[in-house]
Structures are given as C-alpha cells and as structure tokens.
C-alpha cells in the first residue's frame, strides 16, 4: 500500500510538477471513458484518413477513369473459388458482358474460370498524394501486368467509373464541406453573437432581428433559391465555396443566439469588470475573456452541426441545386440512385447510403460524448 502511494507520488512529480489537471485533461479523461464517443471518434478518424487526406491512395482508380464496364455489378473479394478451394490471397472474378436480346439490357455475370488476384500496395495510375507528393502506389488493386484485370468493389456507374473510388473522392468533398462550412458558421455565429451580447443596444437589435428573419424563413426553400442563384457557368471549385458559405449563412442564427446569451450573462460577471479595470480593451475582453468561457458550449454545437451540414449538402446536391457533376460528392453520387430503374437494375448505387449514415452517426456519437465530457457540471 505504502509503496503504491510512493509510486503515485513519483508519478506526480514526474508529471512536470503540475499542481493539478487542466480543464482539457479532465475533458480528455472523461471523454475516454465514454466508449460510444471513442468509437465515433475512431470511425471519423478512419473516414478522414481514407476519404479526405489519402483518397488517391485508398481508391484503386482515379475518380474520372472510364472503363469498358458500364453499370457493372460489384466484384467482391473472394477467398473460395467455385471448386471449393480456399485462398489466402483474395481474388476477384472477371466479368462477362451479356446482352439480353428480349429486354435489350446489358448485364454482367461472373466468369468463374478467370480469377484476378488482389495485390496490396500495387502500382497504378500516378497521382499526387496530399496534392503535392507524386506517387503511384495504391492501397489495393489487381496485377498491373494484366490490364484486363479490374476490381470494382462497389460496381461501376453509367460511364464505367469505379463507384468505390468515387465514393472515397465524394467523401472528401462532403466531409470537407461539412467541416469548412461549420468553420464559417462558427466564425459568423460567434463573432456576431458575442458582439450582440457584449455591446447590446442597436447592435443587439439589428443582429437579433436578422437571426429572427432567417429562422422565420423555411430553410430548404431559402437554400433552393440561393442555390439556384449560383451561376451554372461557374467553375466547380467556386461553386463549392459558394455552397459552403451559403450553408453557413443560413444556419448561423441559432448559434449567434446561444453565444449572445452566454456572453450576456458573462458580461455581468465581475471578472469582466476586473479586466476592464486593468485596462483591457473591449476586443480583448470579448476575445480573451468572454469567448473562451463559451468555448465548451460552442465546440459541442459545432460537432453536432457538422452532420447537419453534410446532410444538407447531400440533400441539395441530390436535388441538383448544390454541387453538380462533374464535382463528385455523396450528394451527386446519390443522384444516380434517383430512379426506380437504377434501384431495380443497379442497386449498388445505394452503397453511398451507408457511407453517409455511418459518418453522420459517428459525428453524433462524438458530439454527445463531447457534450458530456465538456459540461463542467455533469458528474
């Protein structure tokens, strides 16, 4: 027992002689105990690594590479061939095209006699990792020596493009748009809310009336109108930024109100008076004393807002009013699945749904965990 105490003493001493744990280490400690939130964080980390940062590496093909297989069914990894032999290395079957002369539709069937083994870290199409490191290694793929070999993990679309690769690339846009528009959203909401709460008077009245105006408007029609106003002739990066900003512009009202409330109560605290009495300027008081006090609240709102932004972008792109092809996002990929014909004959278009679903769930799990961990009053 005494040894244990000694050990813990030594441990404390080694910990940079810290008197106590900081707020953030307490948050981390509490967060770690929430298994669901940790799972959410891990899923998200996985998403961001595979989609946002290294999509080129994880996708076997570039997003625009058109193959000869049009609307081909997925070729899944196989470990056991038709004769019942087990293989350690996964393989895929070749696809044979069949035309049904009665319905005049093209279908593909597995050719179980031709097997293409799957290799990891294979050479493929050259790309630039993170936009500047030239590379040509892909995470998985077929033997580059046999150009006929193709692997379509989630099928192909009407132009023969690999759906799996496109989902990864689309995730980059959709996840990034969620993050980026939340940053814009935070910037507008926090600064206007803080100014409104701190200065009061005319500033407060104007900002609050704008938020009321925005919240009185039905959001989707408003966005549809704004989305329709984005010129179709614009290049896709510009449309992307426009959509991001639009998402933030119609959503900031709620955050501004909450920050205003927090700042309003914070302003009456004596520490603001004390800061003033030491010659701190208004800007300093707002940014150094009031906003940090609202941060735990704001971070949680932001985390829970990201999935909303992703869904909104997806919904709008699905309706053809947000991003439009050739930009690849989950919304534009979902557009492929908007006919009964597509669902009947090419159900692999629906693979985008679990992608969206899991990312949204992960964000919500993370957000809930953060809320519990950051609330200083929760036990």
């Amino acid at each position: 027992m005494s040894e244990e105490i000694q050990n813990s003493n030594v441990k404390q001493k080694n910990d940079k002689n810290k008197v106590s744990q900081s707020y953030w280490s307490l948050v981390w400690w509490k967060f770690r105990k929430n298994k669901l939130a940790v799972v959410g964080a891990i899923i998200l980390a996985f998403y961001y690594i595979t989609c946002v940062f290294f999509a080129e590496f994880f996708a076997p093909y570039p997003k625009d590479l058109e193959s000869d297989y049009l609307e081909a069914r997925p070729t899944y990894f196989q470990f056991r061939d038709s004769e019942g032999n087990w293989f350690l290395r996964p393989f895929v079957y070749a696809l044979d095209e069949q035309i049904d002369m009665a319905t005049r539709t093209r279908t593909y069937v597995y050719n179980t006699t031709v097997k293409y083994p799957i290799y990891f870290f294979v050479k493929g199409e050259p790309y630039k990792l993170l936009g500047f490191i030239p590379a040509e290694t892909h995470f998985f793929g077929t033997d580059p020596e046999t150009p006929d070999a193709k692997v379509f993990l989630m099928g192909t679309d009407r132009l023969g493009r690999d759906q799996f690769s496109r989902l990864l690339y689309g995730g980059r846009i959709s996840l990034f748009i969620g993050l980026f528009s939340v940053i814009v959203f935070l910037f507008i909401g926090v600064s206007l809310g803080a100014a409104s709460g701190y200065y009061g008077g005319a500033t407060d009245i104007i900002v609050m009336r704008i938020t009321e105006f925005l919240s009185a408007f039905p959001q989707e029609p408003l966005f549809l109108a704004l989305g329709a106003a984005v010129p179709v002739t614009w290049p896709s990066p510009r449309v992307f930024f426009m959509v991001t900003i639009l998402l933030a512009l119609i959503q900031w009202g709620g955050l501004a109100r909450q920050v205003r409330g927090l700042v309003l109560s914070g302003r009456e605290e004596q520490y603001v008076l004390a800061a003033q009495s030491f010659g701190a300027s208004d800007r300093r008081i707002i940014f150094k004393h009031l906003i940090p006090a609202t941060m735990s609240h704001v971070i949680v709102i932001a985390t829970l807002k990201i999935p909303g932004m992703i869904l909104l972008e997806t919904a709008l792109s699905f309706l053809g009013l947000g991003l439009v092809p050739p930009t690849v996002s989950w919304g534009t990929l979902l557009q492929n699945a908007n006919t009964v014909r597509a669902i009947r004959f090419a159900p692999w278009y629906l693979f985008v749904i679990p992608f969206i679903l899991f990312s949204i769930m992960a964000y919500n799990m993370l957000g809930d965990g953060l809320r519990d961990a950051m609330d200083p009053y929760s036990k």
Partner: protein
Amino acid sequence: MTKETRDPLVTVKNLHVDFDVRDGIVHAVDGASFNIYRGQTLGIIGESGCGKSITAKAIMNMIPKQGKVTGEITFYEKSEEGSGEIINEIRLDQTDPDGEVIRKIRGGHIAMIFQEPMSSMTPVYTAGFHIIEAVHLHRFMSAEKIGGQMGKNIQKKRPVTEAEAREIAIEMLRRVGIPNAEKRVDSYPHELSGGQRQRVMIAIALSTYPDLLIADEPTTALDVSIEAQILDLMRELQETQDMAIMFITHNLGVIAEIADEIVVMYMGKEVERSDTIAIFENPKHPYTKALLGSIPEIGEKKDKLETIEGMVPSPFNLPSGCVFHPRCPSFMPGKCDCVYPEYAEVADGHWARCLLYDGCWPETTEAQAVKNQAVAAD
C-alpha cells in the same frame, strides 16, 4: 507629511453620478469632493448603497452607459524619471471610456481590487495568466540606452517578454505571501482558497506598480486573520512603493486601522471628511456619531445593540432638506427638513454637511434648543 507638502494624485470636485432608470432619477453620488494624496490612504465609509463603489468606478471612468457623470476628476501624472514634477493633468471624467488614454491609466496608474475576489478572475485562466496579462498591458522594460551621442538620453522601452512576465508573476505571488508560488502560478481560480484569490487579485493590481490602488471592500469576504494579513500586506506595499490607497468599506475597525483620512458618505452625499483620529475622537455629523455608536464594544454585554433609527430612504423619494433628518437624533424641526445643508469646514481640515454647524440660517427656538444640547454633549 504635513498637509501643505502633500502631493495630490487624484482630485475629485463636486462629483455627481445620476442614473436615469424607469422609476426616476437616482442620484447615486451627489456632490462628493475629496483629494487623494500620493502615499496616503483615504478611507470611504458608509452603509450599503450609499455610493461608495460608484465613486470608485467614476474615478476609473467605468460608470455604466446609463449613468451621467458631472463634476471634475483630475489625475496628476508624474514623470517617471524621478524628478517628481507633474507632467500631465488628465481629466478622467472627460476621457473616452473605451479610449487609449483611460486604458493606460486603468491598471497602469490606478488599479482596483473588487469586493468579491471569488468572481473577479476569469475561470478559464490560471492565476499567472491574469498577472501576465496585466504586466503585458502596462509594464515596460527599459532596454539599453540608445541615441546617447545625440545629447539626449532616450530610454528605449520594450514590452516584457513572456518569460519575464512569468517571472514577475511568480515574484508578485511570492510578495503577497502565496506559498509555493512557482506552482500556484499555474493554478486555476477554483483551486485557490478565498484568501489566496484575494491575494492573487492584489498581486494583479500591484504587478504594474500603480500610483493608486482602489480597494473596494477587499476584505469583506475574508475571515479576520486573513483580513489582518491582507491589511498588513497592503500597508507594507504602500510604504515600499509610495502608493496611494482608496479604501472603501463599511467596516469601521478596518478603516481605523488603515486610513489616514476618512470620507463618510450617506445616500450618495459626502457628509463628513476629516483625518482618521478626528473622525473617531470627535465626530461632528450626527450620522457619523450614530455609525460609531453602533459598533459593539468587545467585553461589554448589552441587551440590544445600538442601531440608527429608521430606514434608509428610497432613492426615488429622498427627504426634503437634509437627507438624514428623518433618522437624525439631533433633528431640528423647521430647519433640517427645509434647508439643504452646505458643506462647511467646522474645524481645521474637518468638513461636515450639517445644519448644526451652519449659522447662516434663521433659527427656530426648537432648533436652537436641540443645537445647544448637541453642542453641550460634544
């Protein structure tokens, strides 16, 4: 220091602060005039809500926007080179409340300690951060002399670096008697006890070497032994830094301990002003007498403690004439309720606002009788 050689730091002349609220106008401060001298302590006493804190805030030009300030508050800035001449007279009441000038003075020349040390620190920052912030804003290090060949010694000043500010913070915490200052500098406010927080507040206020420290009931929230330590500390620092203190309290024991001169306020009005000994030995105004009379004496058991009769009047409906007359034991009918007393020097350096000492008004026989009685009792 005799009165003639006293060195004014802040002079307040005929200060009025009015708040226009829904129910009418509140005269929070109604004609206060006093001087604060370098290296001396001015005590301000009075009941709750009598305008003590508002006076302090008026000096810092921190009256909320709804308040209207009239009168003159002048700050005399001395040159730092030690020649001691006054280089600048700043009218604090005329500065822009968010402007550069007043922000240099706040914290830099006039620092303030608040009533509640518990809530005067931003909860998300450490004790050290608060001191470092103040030091960053107001303290400059004199760097090497430059331009010496040009005949003038221009002292180049630079802001303190992060490491130096931290050193200063630790040093200040040590000076205010916080044990283990190197560790405590990283403590959050909730990890400190009330006394320690108040010490940290004092450390923040003193870290910039202000000319004037406004202490707004700094020991109210503390227990007696800590209170004594804090008072000792303030007095010690006052001696070493030649700092003036404006000490606001309703605790007469504390004020007797620390103040050189005392201002007594009632309902926003300055009713008496004199040096400490004269106030305690020979109070002139009936209100001061009543206040002193209501201190329970140690070792004496009374059935009932002395109180001041009546209630504090509503600020919207002040009594006519002298505002204290409904509660005054020396009330002179026909005079006190009709005539507003002028501030008069009743003895050498002893000012009081009371009709007992004002001979220029026609007196009724009743008034004469009460007055004679009061003077006889003196």
